[in-house]
């Protein structure tokens, strides 16, 4: 029976014309699929492999992104070990590189487990096993992005982000500022400090705004720049070292009319209250000939300077 059908088949070989058509169609389909596959690959690759995306908030202990993309096997063990099920593995077409774990703070922030269960089973160390203290985690950095809608900036009391922050009082502080609009109230402005913010996103989740939050966690490289290395923040160094590194130049000579004093702490010219500088006669060199024009304070100091007589007088005095 089997050989019968065999013969039937072979004798009913299709005519050459239909073979051509079939081959043509399958070749066309083949080429299309091949090109499509290649295009998909390249497209997705270039899309996903590009710079750090704002959505890619990594689990605690994640290595810096470039190392992370080399180390993470996309196995999802951290996803399984998270007791709050906040982690997700990116699928193709998402902006986060395919297969890598991330969480969306607005809907599911990191709950900051003390034992950090997502880390120890990570097989490659893409999540750093040395991280033992969750408050040392740096998943990202919260930024108060919407300073127009955030009701603290409108002068209302909210402070939800401040209150939910697990590193309370350190990662987010409230800055009291004068409410210019009302003239008599204070604004309680949330300010994030990168020194303590873990990027857990609990503030973002809690933000009372609808849809987009006013405070949002970004991957740290997107949220924080680097101060040029030639800058020195003197007042911070002063605090750390316990002494002045950059001293106030109180010996500096300003080109002031003689007898006029200047307050280096910020008051400026010492005046009598009506804008006229108070002249201390003891500071005026005695040998100076007393003419109307070179007595400081006798005329406006600017006039003296502009006329150039002041300099002249000084040279003479030496």
């Amino acid at each position: 029976m089997s050989s019968n059908s065999h013969i039937k088949r072979t004798t009913q070989k299709p005519k050459p014309k239909s073979i051509d058509r079939r081959r043509f169609l399958s070749d066309m389909a083949g080429t299309a699929c091949g090109v499509g596959l290649l295009g998909l690959g390249i497209g997705v690759y270039s899309k996903s492999a590009s710079a750090i995306t704002a959505q890619a908030i990594r689990p605690p202990g994640a290595l810096p992104e470039e190392d992370f993309l080399a180390a993470c096997t996309r196995c999802g063990i951290c996803v399984r070990d998270c007791p709050y099920d906040i982690l997700k593995l990116a699928t193709i077409g998402e902006e986060v590189p395919t297969g890598t774990p991330y969480f969306t703070a607005r809907t599911g922030p990191c709950e900051m487990c003390e034992d950090i269960p997502c880390i120890p089973n990570c097989p490659t160390g893409a999540l750093n096993h040395n991280l033992k203290d969750i408050s040392k985690a740096r998943m990202g950095l919260a930024v108060v992005v919407d300073q127009e809608t955030c009701i603290a900036f409108l002068g209302l009391r909210c402070e939800v982000c401040f209150n939910v922050c697990p590193v309370r009082g350190k990662a987010i502080t409230l800055d009291y500022r004068h409410n210019e609009r009302s003239g008599k109230h204070a604004l309680f402005i949330p300010v994030v400090h990168s020194s303590d913010c873990t990027g857990c996103g609990l503030c973002e989740k809690a933000c009372i705004l609808e849809d987009a939050p006013a405070i949002k966690v970004f991957p740290t490289p997107l949220a924080k720049g680097d101060l040029g290395h030639h800058y020195r923040i003197g007042w911070k160094q002063e605090k750390e070292k316990g002494g002045a590194l950059i001293s106030t130049p109180d010996k500096h000579k300003y080109n002031l009319p003689e007898g006029v004093r200047y307050d280096y702490e910020g008051e400026g010219l010492i005046t009598d209250g009506q804008g006229n500088p108070i002249v201390d006669p003891s500071l005026i060199p005695k040998k100076t000939p007393k003419t109307d024009e070179n007595i400081p304070g006798n005329t406006s100091p600017l006039d003296v300077l502009n006329k150039g007589n002041f300099l002249k007088g000084k040279q003479e005095s030496k």
């Binding site: 079939r22 080429t31 091949g34 699928t91 193709i92 490659t124």
Partner: protein
């Protein structure tokens, strides 16, 4: 073989050996593939069905085929991923990943490298289905290109890792995408799998697994040294029905073994390109093939 109707494949074997023995290895293979998926999914499903319950089974195996942990203790890691990691210049690989990769490496060396392809990898189900449909629809032709290309793909993949400093291939790797997707959600990943299916259906017969997949190539390199092999000790019984050539995903590997007696070729499918799928054993009515050791004539 020419003109042999594909629908007849295996009929003679069923008549002679019975249905079970004509499909035994195929069925065991499918069971193995499905069981592995099942083991990964059993705990998530339990938790999904019963969120309150502390699923008593715990985790039998957690993760996916890229990396996993058996019973929360034994680490397993895809050695090719580890290789890419090293190629990318990442030096801080944890010990666990290295141990895991060694375990996997030794296992596949023992049972045959591409046992991964035919007994574990779920993409095999997709591409086998494409092959089956291609046969059913009597689609012929398409693009033909050398099987050697896949060795280049393996090289390109490692170079890509070195250039980008990341596991670049993992961004588009359909194989790991399916593993991961089955356990963590596919989303648009189905499009990629569909593309592989259509590629195998229309473009090239057995296109993905036999011509492209760099993971298969990697495991075939291990398989070159594996002790467990398909043997054809009874090759003199071969009646040239040609059915094994049709079912074999790497049909070019069989002829030298079947016809090599005069040339002194040992009756072993020694190349690592063989996936140890055992389909040739199933389909051969004359029982030419069997699993055995590479160097030992003793039959199993």
């Amino acid at each position: 073989m020419a003109g042999k109707i594909n629908e007849l494949i295996g009929k003679e074997a069923i008549e002679k050996k019975g249905w079970w023995r004509a499909y035994k290895w195929l069925i065991l293979r499918r069971l193995s593939q499905l069981a592995i998926i099942g083991l990964f999914l059993i705990t998530p499903i339990c938790k999904w069905l019963n969120p309150e319950a502390d699923c008593a089974l715990g985790w039998i195996i957690k993760g996916n085929l890229a990396s996993s942990k058996v019973l929360n203790t034994i680490p397993l890691t895809d050695p090719l991923l580890l290789l890419q990691m090293i190629a990318s210049g990442f030096m801080g690989v944890a010990k666990e990943a290295i141990i895991g990769a060694m375990i996997v490496l030794v296992f596949y060396w023992l049972v045959g490298g591409r046992v991964f392809c035919s007994w574990v990898c779920p993409v095999n189900i997709i591409t086998d289905a494409a092959f089956w449909l291609r046969t059913k629809l009597k689609l012929r032709g398409g693009t033909h290109f050398s099987r050697r290309i896949r060795y280049w793909f393996l090289g390109i993949l490692l170079i890509l890792s070195a250039i980008t400093g990341s596991l670049a291939y993992e961004l588009i790797n359909p194989v790991s995408m399916l593993h991961r997707g089955l356990f963590f959600g596919m989303s648009l990943g189905w499009l990629v799998i569909a593309a592989v299916f259509l590629f195998d259906l229309f473009v090239t017969k057995r296109g993905w697994c036999t011509h492209i997949c760099p993971m298969g190539v990697f495991y075939s390199l291990i398989g070159n040294y594996s002790p467990l092999k398909v043997r054809a000790d009874a090759r003199n019984l071969c009646d040239d029905c040609g059915e094994c050539y049709v079912v074999c995903p790497e049909s070019h590997i069989l002829k030298p073994v079947l016809k090599g007696e005069e040339k002194g070729v040992p009756p072993v499918v020694s190349t690592g390109e063989c996936t140890n799928c055992g389909r040739c054993i199933d389909v051969c009515a004359e029982e030419v093939f069997h699993f055995g050791l590479r160097s030992n004539k003793h039959t199993s």
